[in-house]
Amino acid sequence: MRYSKMFQQVRNEGHLAYIPFVVIGDPNEELSLEIIDQLVTNGADGLELGLAFSDPVADGPVIQQSILRPLANQFSVSSGLRLVAKVREKYPQLPIGLLIYANLVFAQGIKSFFNQCCNAGIDSILIADCPVKESKLFAGAAEESGIDLVFIAPPDANDETLQQIANTSKGYTYVLSRKGITGTEVAASKASTEFLGKLRNFGSPPLVQGFGISKPQHVFDAAKAGVDGIITGSAIVNLINRHYNTPQIMLEHIGDYVRTIAQAAHTNHAQSA
């Protein structure tokens, strides 16, 4: 519900939705909440929150650091969900997604995990190492708990896979314009209009582009290609990696950065097109 409302609102204004990503609990509980406040007050339309996992195969070096730091501090999955619940309490309307690895969902029992997420007020879960062909393991529990399962659409997937992704993904579809893992080392290229068009024709929920988006120009390119929203992860996490020992400076940098990207996203792209 929160997603469709948010996307509707953003679309009405000709904007893109801006969904920043950070790892929950990094660099510590208190600062993590302050970082999230920076994201929201500077223009985030939704949040994508990572939950620390020991073996993050889909993540590049920048996000790996951010994922491993809470683990080194014994930060648990349950403290992560408790922290998300606090964010939910503070921002009742904000769409909140969880980005997570399959074993964390599996280990304590899939149903129980989805219920815990539901209680924490989470709207969607993207399982980084669960392709759509393995979705049935999680689909039942997701549906029962009312949580949207989000899937990733890679640029070179065949039509059959795109169709399956479009039909299975709920809340939004996470689209990529390049191969590889998370990180700003390889910038996003402009997603092909044909690829996005196919997903729409197959009935996909709103299209949100991630991986390699770090500059306002990437946001304008994404808007031109025709996505509904964008995710930035590594660019923000990089600021955390660099400045977590000087929290005030870190928070200022994050605020400035998020404001810049939000400004680009909240341009009336419909008019400029």
Partner: protein, 411 residues
């Protein structure tokens, strides 16, 4: 009758990406096309006479197959027990790894991929990959945990000597599992021209099935050789299990022979009830790691725990999905051997038979010895001597020296 037989048989066949409820393809969506391409190439290749001829020629003329079966003269021998060793230690490269590496390297060429990436723990799989790539003119990049690079520097030199690029991996626990993570990340960006040559019967489908297919030659040969030398099937087949490739290789041909016990030996490290072991099957729980639903060592919340073994090749916190299926279905049994027991067997086999076994294989030998002391009827044991121990010499030497110091200090 026939129907029942068919059912028993099919229980141990793959159904798509799964064997029983284990396996699957739990990888980022971006890697799915690469796995599907590999699966297709693999299924076509094993039906293609030309491919199999080329592979067999390499296995025979380059790698030295068939490997001998050697009966122990004194090790574990008593009036009731004969122990036979399948000599994969004599295969080129020094371990069974070469069998399936040659096969996958040929597959890579078939798919038109000129670059190979691989992970390695102790360095044996890296060495096998480097030699196959040198032979077949492929470019090799080997990911190896930084800690392992330091522990196994001669193998790093071997790989570089044969033209491979070795990349030390410094994140996470800087060991095998992190090397696998890094290889998967590389593959996600480069699968167009790169094949990921995974080294064991674990990982996402089709790797477990494919590695099994290319290692089952071990069991096929051994079965004929045991029959020839004893006129009977062995009573038990024993192999060490890290990821599980040498074990599945020697087990597979015996799976339908229900009277043959299949025994996998896991690294019990400091003891199965200590917190330092690699006994994934005996002490791990079900989880999803490195692309497969399998058993893994993990916390209650699902964080993967580092394993421990004196043998780097068994020091892995997950295991191939087929072994979980063999265990839960009751077809195979799994036991643990500690670091100390393995070190003991390492020395005993060297002394008794003039064969220095790999520390990995020493786990299987130690269990065979134990079993030989328990049997009351005439028994034939088949042990997979999966690799030779040259790579372990300096490691074992330093352990024995420090043990000696400790005991003399105690006096």
């Amino acid at each position: 009758m026939t129907i029942i037989e068919e059912q028993t048989h099919s229980k141990f066949e793959y159904d798509g990406a799964y064997i029983g409820q284990y396996g699957g393809q739990f990888v980022p969506q971006i890697l799915v096309p690469a796995l599907e391409q590999l699966e297709q190439a693999f299924e076509q290749a094993i039906d293609d006479r030309g491919f199999l001829d080329e592979l067999n020629k390499l296995l025979n003329d380059y790698a030295g197959r068939p490997t001998p079966l050697t009966e122990c003269q004194t090790f574990g021998r008593n009036e009731n027990c004969r122990i036979f060793l399948k000599r994969e230690d004599l295969l080129h490269g020094g371990a069974h790894k070469t069998n399936q590496v040659l096969a996958q390297a040929l597959l890579a060429k078939r798919m038109g991929k000129g670059r190979i990436i691989a992970e390695t723990g102790a360095g044996q799989h890296g060495v096998a990959t480097a030699l196959a790539c040198a032979l077949l003119g492929l470019k090799a990049t080997i990911y190896m945990g930084k800690k392992d690079c330091d522990r196994q520097s001669p193998n790093v030199f071997r790989m570089r000597l044969m033209g491979a690029e070795v990349i030390p991996v410094d994140n996470g626990s800087a060991s095998l599992k992190d090397a696998i993570n890094e290889a998967l990340r590389d593959w996600a960006a480069n699968y167009d021209d790169t094949h990921y040559l995974l080294g064991t019967a674990a990982g996402p489908h089709p790797f477990p099935k494919m590695v099994k297919r290319f290692q089952q030659v071990i069991g096929e040969e051994a079965k004929q050789q045991v029959l020839q030398q004893t006129g009977q099937l062995p009573d038990a087949v024993i192999a060490c299990v890290g990821g599980g490739s040498n074990a599945i290789g020697i087990f597979t041909d015996f799976i339908p022979d229900e009277d043959v016990r299949l025994i996998g030996v896991e690294p019990a490290g400091h003891g199965l009830d200590s917190d330092a072991h690699g006994a994934t099957l005996l002490r791990g729980t079900e989880g999803i790691i490195h692309g497969a639903r399998t058993h893994t060592l993990q916390t209650e919340e699902g964080q993967i725990i580092e394993s421990h073994s004196v043998s780097a090749g068994l020091d892995y916190p997950a295991v191939g999905p087929e072994h979980v299926h063999l265990m839960t279905s009751g077809r195979a049994e799994y036991v643990g051997i500690t670091d100390d027991e393995a070190l003991q067997a390492f020395q005993e086999l060297s002394h008794a038979e003039g064969i220095i076994p790999a520390l990995e294989s020493s786990h299987a030998l130690a269990y065979a010895k134990k079993l030989s002391q328990q049997v009351t009827e005439e028994t034939v044991l088949l042990v997979n001597l999966s690799g030779r121990g040259d790579k372990d010499l300096s490691h074992v030497m330093s352990i024995l020296e420090s043990n000696q110091k400790e005991s003399s200090n105690a006096l």
